[in-house]
Amino acid sequence: MKDFDAKGIPHTTPRQSATFTQDANSDIRRAAATGIYDIRGGGAKRKVPSFDDLLFLGASISRYPLEGYREKCGTDVKLGTRFAQNPIELDIPITIAGMSFGALSGPAKEALGRGANAAGTSTTTGDGGMTPEERGHSSKLVYQYLPSRYGMNPDDLRKADAIEIVVGQGAKPGGGGMLLGQKISDRVAEMRNLPKGIDQRSSCRHPDWTGPDDLEIKILELREITGWKVPIYVKVAGARPYFDTTLAVKAGADVVVLDGMQGGTAATQDVFIEHVGQPTLACIRPAVRALQDLGMHREVQLVVSGGIRSGADVAKAMALGADAVAIGTAALIALGDNDPKWEAEYNELGTTAGAYDDWHEGMDPAGITTQDPELMKRFDPIEGGRRLKNYLKVLTLEAQTIARACGKNHMHNLEPEDLVALTMEAAAMAQVPLAGTDWYPGKPNTSY
């Protein structure tokens, strides 16, 4: 690049626009070339206030810690204690979120079951119904009751250890889904009562109920069909967490599952994922406040999902009031999704390890988000299950380490008082003090 023009006048430094960034420009070029919006999997990739913006205080003179590796720090959790005869009892407060057979291969679902079993936690079905492999390899299986009702039948409903009525998903509050035709194998098509090879839309709302009054009756029907034995969860997206939690509880939910915008999806529009919904961090306190206002905190359990990666994230979510967390994307990464060992093939697909998100196209080099028989052979469900178990164990150990440092003998004893925020935004969302102060934006009885 020349520093001067032909008249000897210096060029100004080329300046990239902060508005028309390289990313934005590539989106424009892609849209201009195709005439169709971008569909992808995963959750929000934009930077939002998150658990990274919180820190634990640890112990001090007024708070004494527990001895690591010696003094007990409980991790067990019971979900569904409100109405169900048989609540789900988990060894760890980390569950596997709903992911469908169809979006994932059969062996990947099997691996999720194996890993969750070994770690003492539950897995969750997804759109498309329950497969025998999944039921067989998951000692605690939550059956999602979704708007599409693909594969929905009362026999599987009765085989479930809990039922999760899915109202919304953090990646796309108010949105449905689309499983593109190339992922519709004979088996997927048969389970969904649709021809092979056609796009399969998942509805954005339930076909036979609208609103909280109907939801209460729907919950009654499901309880009657299953004899009031199993817990009924209601999963909501991080949109209006105070009101959605309130309405779910009033409708009779045993458990509220709250999914923030970093929570993944198998496929939806990129514009939807990035621009609709709230960060997980912003959703927890309003949901907990709703439970507290109803006198139902800990009576109706709160499971938080959307961007949980580490034991620190687990501990922070629980300190803010969650009873447990759910992981989806992190579980897939533990299985081997986006592993750099497939970098050459990711490059062939126009991406790189860590950024691959075209799960809906069924060409996953790791053989996890695909129905291609050849790609599926690359994935060993036994090894995948072992990796997931290891990961879940590490999450638990990390969370326990933090809890002990805060002097807690059970994960559920973590509390907001254990936390400070690094940014004003996180302080406002989490309602914990900005580090070095005793204040957060919106704190009651303050004049600022």
């Binding site: 649709l194 076909p207 029907e221």
Partner: protein, 227 residues
């Protein structure tokens, strides 16, 4: 015949009693009195029994039914026979919205009218309506049949897949990708059997057939205006 007073004995007792009926039960006929519009009556049944409900029902009567015959001697609330797998549900009066929603199999016979979204997302059920059906019926219907001896409301069969719709009267409008189709001899035969099963006093030759044009089966930006 076994008689069950719903008002006196309660919903939980009713459904648990009906669920306890085995495949070879000798208590094959049940009469439910005093339903008084209660919700979730006779849901999740899975035995070849006959249940007669003497009055009108609330939401989700006979939801997820398998094998049983549930006969409502009155009108039925929303979601009657939702997600039915097999068996028969008969409504002597009218049925509210979402009748037969997502049903996988069996037969739903409505002797009066059915409200909006009848057969929404149906997956194999046969729905036979002696009267009219409301707007947005058979939205995203996947498979199975709807027979309408009267008229159909707006947007019949919007975004439907392989389900068939037979309408004797007028169709106020068709939904996206739903078109009138040729009535070939095989369709006449299917319809005649459905009319007989539903106890309808109508001739197959009086009906028109509607179904998917299959233009929206795979996403195409040129069809964006239809989405």
């Amino acid at each position: 015949m076994q008689t069950f007073d719903l008002e006196a004995q309660g919903l939980r007792a009713l459904n648990s009693t009906l669920h306890a009926q085995a495949e070879n039960t000798n208590q094959t006929t049940w009469e439910i009195i005093n339903p008084k519009g209660s919700h979730a009556i006779a849901v999740g049944l899975d035995a070849p029994i006959e249940v007669n409900v003497k009055g009108s029902t609330g939401y989700y009567c006979a939801g997820m039914n398998k094998q049983a015959t549930v006969h409502v001697h009155g009108s039925a609330g929303p979601g009657t026979a939702e997600n039915m797998m097999s068996g028969t549900v008969i409504v002597e009066g009218d049925a509210s919205q979402y009748a037969g929603a997502t049903g996988h199999g069996g037969t739903l016979i409505i002797k009066g009218n059915a409200s909006s979204r009848c057969g929404i997302s149906m997956k194999g059920i046969d729905i036979i309506v002696h009267g009219n059906i409301g707007h947005m019926s058979a939205f995203m219907a996947q498979s199975g049949n709807i027979v309408v001896c009267g008229d159909a409301g707006d947007a019949l069969g919007d975004s439907c897949y392989e389900a068939r719709f037979f309408v004797r009267g007028t169709v106020k409008s068709l939904g996206a990708d739903c078109v009138e189709k040729e009535m070939r001899p095989e369709h006449i035969a299917i319809l005649e059997e459905l009319l007989e099963r539903g106890g309808c006093d109508a001739k197959a030759s009086e009906f028109k057939r509607y179904g998917s044009a299959r233009n929206l089966y795979n996403f195409d930006v040129d069809n964006a205006a239809a989405y």
